[in-house]
Amino acid sequence: MSVGLSEPQKVWSAEDVSISDVLNALGDIRGKFARDEAHDDHVHPRSCVMTLIGVAPTEADEVSAMRTAELIGTQHPALAIVIREAPSMRGHLDASITTQIQRPQIACPTECEIITLHVRGGAAEHLAALVDPLLVSGVPTYLWWLGTPPFGHKELLDALRVCDGLVVDSARFEEPFRTFRGLSRLLKVAHHRLGLADMQWSRLRPWRETVAQFFTPVERRDLLSGIAEVGIDYAGEGRGNRIAAALLTGWMAAALGWKLRRAAAGGGGVVVAHYDAGSRMVEVDFRSVQKGHLAPGEVGAVRIAGASSGTTFRLSVFHDPDRKAAPPDAAYRTTHPTEGEDDAGFELAQRRAEWHRDVLHENLDSFHHMATGEMPGESRPRSPVVVNRERRRPDSDRVLLTLIEIGETAPLRHVQQLEQEDDAALLLDLLSTGTHDEVYNRSLAAAAALIEKF
């Protein structure tokens, strides 16, 4: 279906105005659009899918939010409101309205509106009062908080009052370890209708799909109760980079009813956790890997191994596997053949060797707490945590390689291409199904329980 799409055009802007002025301008713009497009004496109804409020802490975030809103607008009529606090500006509220018109070949034209608000002073702390009059009635309102939301602050709860869902990206949090804990507590204090969506959770979707797919055939369902080991590689070091790995683990634990018994983390980015799965224990290991193509915090591989009814199995999923890399220790591999890319045997040995160092490092945390009186978990020197605004980057060439080994047969390879992960695509993915995701909520709680142990 061909679509005629106009370039986004700033059609109104004013400094030091009130929300009433913005509403009047919006009414004029909508009226003009309806009259201009009503060639057949029949004014077409306005079409709107949602109100998206983007809170941008920085100018760069504002540009990013505008671009994402425009991209969404190319496909779906929506009202977007982008808000940035600008303490240095002269008035209390500067506003502008940008519109973009779609003219599908076989459907009525639609108009997307992006309202930009620069606020200063008390208004910035009362977002709900600011945006409420602008919201489109009858369609969901989503609050997309770029950067790090102020969890635990009244300002955020006030903004959430008028929203159906909050969208965050836990891969972009400053101080992710602390902020993630705030995120996990939010559902307990927010209103009951609030949905919570995390773009990082969306990025993990291919991993969840691939793991779920392995266990889908009825004859493999028994293997779920035979899982003994889970290994997750993640990029970067430090607990702030283990959020995605913890979410994946939390997802499995919540879905399969595993209870966390103990966990220890240590230097080199290694984490070992033990879950009680009823009649057996499941060991979950995180390993930090340095791979150029992975952003800090990104998951690089997931391995699940176990045995059921006398049959062993191993599922290995790799993100952009680097097949050119030489095995780290050829002699070791001779003793423990691991079929090319699957270096789980090597990983196991490395993990055992680091175990004592991990335990020591874990204890260092409490030693430091006892010595300084500071909060455990936050007080330990951050090094080597690497967290910055560049932790996510555009991906254009992404592959998941799955290796399946059941019994003694040769590994079955399966290659899948991952879609490009720009913010607009991830937001659409999240918002198309709504933000009320019980599985995410459960996984978040289980992940939070795990990272509390780091």
Binding site: H42, C108, T110, E209, V399, L412
Partner: protein
Amino acid sequence: MKLEEAPNPLAEGLHDYRIADPAVMVIFGATGDLAGRKLLPALYNLAKQRSLPAGFAVVGLATTPMTDQAFKQMASDKIHQFSRTQPIDDRVLAAFLDMLSYMTVPSPDFKALGQRLQELDNSNHIPGNRVFYLATPPPTYHLIISQIEAAGLHAGNGWKRIVIEKPFGTDLDSARELTQTLHKVFSEDSVYRIDHYLGKETVQNILAFRFANTIFEPVWNANLIDSVQITIAEELGIENRGLYYDHAGALRDIIQNHGLQLVALTAMEPPLAFEANAVRDEKVKVLRSIRPLIGEDIEQSAVRGQYTSGWVLGEKVVGYREEKNVAPDSQTETFAALRLFIDNWRWAGVPFYVRAGKRQPKRITEIRIQFKRPPHLTFGREAMKEVDPNAITLRIQPEEGISLKFGAKVPSAGLRIRSVTMDFQYMTSFLVEAPEAYERLLLDCMIGDPTLFTRADEVEAAWSLVDPIEDAWRNGRPPLETYPGGTWGPPSAARLLQQDGREWHRP
């Protein structure tokens, strides 16, 4: 709970991600038009969405000798040409092509095919699951099915499913014969009769519109509905399908399947659940409740026409008899219209007008529910003279959506009411793109969900309605009329409604 009924706990919350078991899809007629235009591009798009499980494999079969490599090249070319999503992702395509292999139809039997399937089972961890897709002309169905049976490919571990394309027979007898042949080898649960129309999002939306809302169902009956009009119009002629079409005609090609399916979906009672047998049971009840047209009813309630030369979308077009592979004295109808009555409590007395034709002014498929006029003219005759009765229009294609027509006061000092339309368009209201019908249906088949496939009794009920009309038409009752290309059918089509004091809605 039995193991096979236990859901996969890890699949919970993966919205729209429907996971199929590893299987081999055997495509008979793999070098043909259907495979190239629809099946291979649909499978590629499923791979792109990561919906094909690890181990999934396709074995293409046809009579043309070809190597695996040549088949993969052909598949690649067709995918580049016909895929819904563009540009083609080379890495997805490469991974998908790795799943393909080709065999020249083995003779004298399918044992070599059986060996190939066994090898794939072993290498790909496939527990014997098979989809046999018959993308071949219907006359080959019997032979292929009997060969599958002879080679024992229908037996053993895992599930075995067979997909056949419409037409499911050419009349009631041939449809029953086909079903008998299928049932010798496959149970009805394993037979997937594909009518791609049912895979369209907007067709499924008829059910969502009716049964996910409370406000429409109370008025969805003879108390308030005056009539229902279903239009399936194409601006195209028969293109290169003369050989097939001249033996089929609009009644068999469109109304017997698409047309009656739309009647059934519009008129059916709420099913207990959106589940295969519950939905299909209700559809069959509607088809069986349609009053058969027999004897003189046919002349009063059925119209047929054939297009002559004319103008369509500003282009001059030739008449049907001048088309390639059409007999110069052909009596085949390219337009058919029926007036049907559903003899049940809900629909007693409500006419369903169904029309389908080629070389119509435009391409459109829609269902129009026309309501009765208000029982009393509160505002007087003068104020209401520009007001049409309320109507709900469900547009299937091309502008998928729903519109509601109602009266509103014209802004003025006086009191004048005019009809206005409230429009809803799918494309502007959702954040996702609809999949192609074959993608949905292929995945449904792999998952084992036959809800959107046609069951044997549906097919037979539809043929039971169509056969007497076909017989009468073949005997020249009533005589074939003509209509210029680019018009809404022959004059009798308009008269069909005029005799009831109604007229066709202009789509």
